[in-house]
Amino acid sequence: MAIQDILALVALVFGLFFSLVGIVGLVRFPDVYCRIHASGKVATLGLVGLLATSALLQPETALKALALALFVVITSPVASHAIASAAYRQGVPINGDRDELAGQRTNLTN
């Protein structure tokens, strides 16, 4: 077994693990904000792992895998932020008592 096969397997397990974790968080976490933490970022890392697997096993895909990984890393936080922001504007309550945005919100929109 070549070295990159071993690395690829590691990357595969890595990717699958974080994908799994992200989904677990998506199911378990108490409110939408927490779930975004889980799935939005963790699943991203899972994807990066799978992309690494691909790059290792099929070198011709490496550059595109890199491009995809970069793209996901750049956009994923933005999507998370946008969803969280939308949830807050829709009035989805946060789980927890500390909310420094409460009250400020009215000044921000409308």
Binding site: F17, F18, V21, G22, V24, G25, R28, F29, P30, D31, Y33, C34, I36, H37, A38, G40, K41, V42, T44, L45, V48, E60, T61, L63, K64, L66, A67, L70, V73, I74, P77, V78, S80, H81, A84, S85, Y88, I94, N95, G96, D97, R98, D99, E100, L101, A102, Q104, R105, N107, L108
Partner: protein, 166 residues
């Protein structure tokens, strides 16, 4: 001019990655296409001093490494919580000042991006007037103490990256 040169070079690199042609030919084609694209789109130029370039480059590399480390750390952190039985969550939203004296949008954006990627924190909203980011944390006990310090660290890196600190 330097700005356009840098941007076109950057685009050329992106081109090479996207097309999978990581070779001189790919670079040449990508560069030409980038120049053509810039001629059409004409983004607003930013002043760049040649003398600061090397340091900016270095900062960029460091930034990317830090970013990657942050992603991994954050993911591991969240994974721990997700898989643990009681999840040990104490969510909440805290206000974090952006601290950029010039209040530039790019700085705010990159800070927010970075924060959202870091462990258990995520920007929910901005108060542009007061340069405040409202950050949702999975665990406020853990985040509050380090929030401002982390932000000033990030800001330093960013300013370096943007070539502002002379």
């Amino acid at each position: 001019m330097l700005f356009y040169l840098l941007v076109s070079l950057g685009f050329a690199v992106v081109w090479m990655i996207v097309t999978g042609q990581f070779n001189p030919g790919g670079f040449a084609v990508g560069w030409m296409i980038s120049i053509g694209l810039l001629l059409v789109v004409r983004p607003h130029p930013r002043v760049i001093r040649a003398s600061h370039l090397p340091r900016q480059m270095a900062a960029t590399v460091i930034y990317i490494l830090v970013l990657f480390r942050d992603i991994v750390l954050s993911s591991v952190d969240v994974a721990r919580r997700a898989l643990s039985r009681d999840m040990r969550l104490q969510p909440g939203i805290i206000a974090v000042p952006t601290q950029d004296p010039q209040r530039r949008e790019i700085v705010t954006a990159l800070s927010a991006h970075n924060i959202t990627i870091t462990p258990g924190e995520m920007v929910v909203d901005f108060d542009t007037e007061n340069s405040v980011m409202y950050v949702h944390c999975l665990d406020v006990r853990q985040s509050i103490p380090i929030a401002e310090a982390a932000q000033s660290r990030r800001l330093r890196l960013l300013l370096n990256l943007l070539g502002d600190r002379s």
